[in-house]
């Protein structure tokens, strides 16, 4: 589904990604862990086309197409979604109107029927149940005044509405209470299908107990230093990142 080869990217002229290689196949769940500032969010934002980042080298294929030929909104309509670490507040635009618009833009792109406000009402009620969101959040302005956890819940609601093929979830678990973490983890699992894939960015193995990855990657200094199975997450929890860095340095010297 997604094939990243030697990807490099910079922001304001400073290199952040320094050669990323990653293969994600349909049906797979991948986790990326790594120290603060290592480039995890950057990788996600580059994949969804954030304009502040400049791709300086390498190649990304999404379903066989050159990802960088697509604008951010085209990537979204092609099925790529990122749940952001820090979702933006948009005053004056109601959450419900925004969700319906986003849904209909995608439906239009896929040649499916658009939903009118009444039909959408039924549709969205199923979705808010999935993420256990209170109805009043639909009438509020998009993310405006939402708590950190409420914003994350709203990101997953958007994911549930858009049903992306590839979802990148950046620190979904930060700011969530224990119950919310379980509810949203379950919701993400329910949305996962054999023809879909997930890339989970996190600092904590806890969320990976609910959303169980087949692959865990350690990203540090703009490179993936180690990839292994899900047991790596627990090992990182116990031992920190230093040993991975040392191992990589030794490997690099070999």
């Amino acid at each position: 589904m997604l094939s990243i080869k030697n990807l490099t990217a910079s922001i304001n002229g400073t290199p952040v990604l320094k050669g990323i290689d990653l293969e994600i196949k349909a049906g797979e769940i991948h986790a990326i862990m790594g120290p603060n500032g290592s480039g995890k969010s950057t990788l996600g934002k580059v994949l969804v086309g954030h304009p502040a980042y400049e791709v300086t080298g390498g190649e990304v294929l999404y379903e066989g197409r050159n990802l960088f030929e697509l604008a951010a909104d085209e990537r979204a309509r092609a099925g790529i979604f990122m749940g952001f670490q820090h979702p933006i507040e948009v005053p004056g635009v109601s959450n419900a109107a925004f969700l319906r618009l986003a849904y209909n833009k995608k439906a239009e792109a896929e040649g499916r029927d658009e939903l009118d406000p009444l039909e959408f009402d039924d549709f969205i009620h199923e979705k808010i149940k999935l993420v256990a969101m209170k109805e009043e959040f639909l009438d509020r302005s998009l993310n405006e005044g939402f708590s950190g956890g409420e914003k994350k819940r709203n990101e997953i609601l958007q994911m549930a509405v858009l049903e992306p093929k590839l979802a990148i979830l950046d620190e979904l678990d930060s700011g969530l209470d224990i119950d919310a973490l379980r509810v949203l983890g379950d919701a993400v699992n329910k949305l996962q299908r054999p023809d879909r894939a997930l890339l989970i960015i996190t600092h904590f193995p806890r969320i990976l107990e609910t959303i169980q990855p087949q692959f865990v990657h350690v990203l540090s200094g703009g490179r993936i230093l180690k990839s292994a199975g899900k047991e790596l997450a627990t090992e990182l929890e116990d031992r920190g990142y230093d040993w991975v860095l040392e191992e990589a340095a030794a490997g690099g010297a070999r």
């Binding site: 969804v48 086309g49 954030h50 304009p51 502040a52 604008a71 951010a72 909104d73 979204a76 309509r77 979604f81 990122m82 952001f84 979702p87 933006i88 948009v90 005053p91 004056g92 635009v93 109601s94 109107a97 925004f98 319906r100 618009l101 986003a102 209909n104 833009k105 995608k106 792109a109 406000p117 302005s141 998009l142 958007q158 858009l162």
Partner: protein, 426 residues
């Protein structure tokens, strides 16, 4: 010694007609203050950016009675609480106050005659503005609203001022709102019109101790109109006055709200201005924290396109002794073209030491992070821009309590921000 003015003298012309007979002493006093005055010029600091030269050359005749079709202005919550004024005259057949609860006095000023002692007395002690005096000297009619002690009026009241100018005319809408102790009211005041005219409304408000007035003000004058409005509000101890002024129309408009807060009073003074073409809209507000522990909140937003120009001057005065004052002011402006222009200036005069005052002004384009967020959900760049522009404006409408008005204004804002193609954003 007086200088001779070449060309027509607008003020003298407007005052040349006969003086209406009621409120003679008020009118006389206003005329005395106006004697020898001329239209303000841009060399005066207060009028620096708002040039009235084009107005000075025009001649406006007296406003004749007229009939208009008001069906498009009716709002379901307020069909039985409306007073309609056409060309400044009360329109009894278009009005209907049958749903107004007993105890509320709600009538045209022409019926009130000299009974309203408070008329012209709100904000006594501060200098009267030229257009305020002009209104006092020549207003034909207007609305009086008196809500007695502790009465909470369930239905909003609707004031419609409609101008239909076949030839250029001048109208002087007048409103007096008095809320006694503990009373509560929601008031919607709208100005609509067609043709070329000058409208100089004056609204006087007195909110007594613990009373609450919510006041929505909609300015949708014709594109050829001049609208020079004055609002004066006195808010008593622990009282609340919340107003929202939405300016869409007029070739040139100016809003001059003045609010005085007594101890523990609260005020909000929000504004939305949407301009394009060569429109000019000026807001000069004055919030007077006269006593301790009062709070005020002001959010003023402008979206300016074409060669239009918006002006905001937000004056806040915290009097000596007004400790515990909390005053917040935000001026946020969106420029949609290279030739659009905004001049915004906070003006804080703080004479007490224990106060919390904050103000901020921003003039710019849409936030790229917000644009990207919408695009990352599949909206193309144009849709994202239009949605954000709409949201920027609709933000001010979110808390309008009258649902049908809120919906109508959202529609209007959608049309003006090219967001109509995005479907129902309600």
């Amino acid at each position: 010694m007086t200088t001779m003015v070449a060309g027509p003298n607008l003020l003298a012309d407007l005052l040349s007609g006969p003086r209406p007979t009621e409120w003679a002493s008020l009118r006389e006093a206003a005329e005395l203050r106006l004697a020898g005055r001329e239209l303000p010029a841009t060399r005066e600091e207060d009028w620096k950016y708002t040039d009235l030269k084009a107005l000075a050359g025009l001649a406006f005749g007296p406003a004749p009675k007229a009939t208009v079709d008001i069906s498009s202005h009716l709002l379901p919550e307020m069909v039985g609480t409306r007073q309609v004024f056409v060309n400044g005259h009360h329109a009894p057949h278009a009005s209907c106050a049958s749903a107004v609860p007993a105890g509320v006095r709600y009538f045209p000023m022409s019926h009130a005659s000299e009974a309203c002692h408070a008329l012209g007395s709100i904000g006594n002690g501060v200098a009267k503005g030229l257009f305020e005096d002009l209104n006092t000297a020549r207003f034909q009619d207007g609305a009086v609203i008196l809500v007695p002690k502790n009465l909470k009026v369930a239905l909003p009241l609707h004031l419609l001022f409609i101008t239909k100018a076949e030839t250029p005319i001048a109208v002087f809408p007048r409103v007096l709102v008095l809320l006694e102790r503990g009373a509560e009211l929601e008031l919607v005041e709208e100005h609509h019109g067609e043709g070329a005219y000058l409208s100089c409304p004056v609204v006087e408000v007195h909110v007594a101790e613990g009373a609450i007035l919510r006041h929505e003000r909609v300015q949708r004058e014709s594109p050829e109109a001049y609208h020079l409005g004055t609002l004066k509000a006195e808010v008593g101890k622990g009282g609340q006055y919340h107003s929202r002024t939405l300016s869409f129309g007029a070739r040139l408009s100016r809003q001059q709200p003045w609010v005085r807060l007594a101890e523990g009073a609260e005020a909000s003074l929000d504004g939305l201005v949407l301009l394009d073409g060569a429109q000019v809209a000026d807001t000069h507000s004055f919030l007077h924290h006269a006593e301790p522990q009062a709070s005020s909140h002001q959010l003023h937003k402008c979206i300016v396109d074409g060669k239009a120009r918006a002006i905001f001057n937000g004056q806040i005065r915290v009097a000596p002794g007004a400790q515990g004052t909390d005053a917040q002011q935000q001026s946020r402006n969106l420029l949609l073209s290279e030739t659009a222009r905004v001049d915004t200036k906070p003006q804080l005069e703080i004479y007490a030491d224990d106060v919390k005052c904050s103000h901020g002004a921003a003039v710019g384009q849409l936030d790229p992070e917000e644009l990207f967020y919408l695009q990352s959900r599949g909206m193309n760049a144009d849709d994202a821009r239009n949605l954000l522009t709409y949201g920027f404006a609709a933000d001010v409408l979110t808390h309008i309590p009258v649902a049908s008005l809120r919906r109508a204004l959202r529609q209007l804002v959608m049309a003006r921000t090219q967001a109509t193609s995005l479907g129902d954003l309600g």
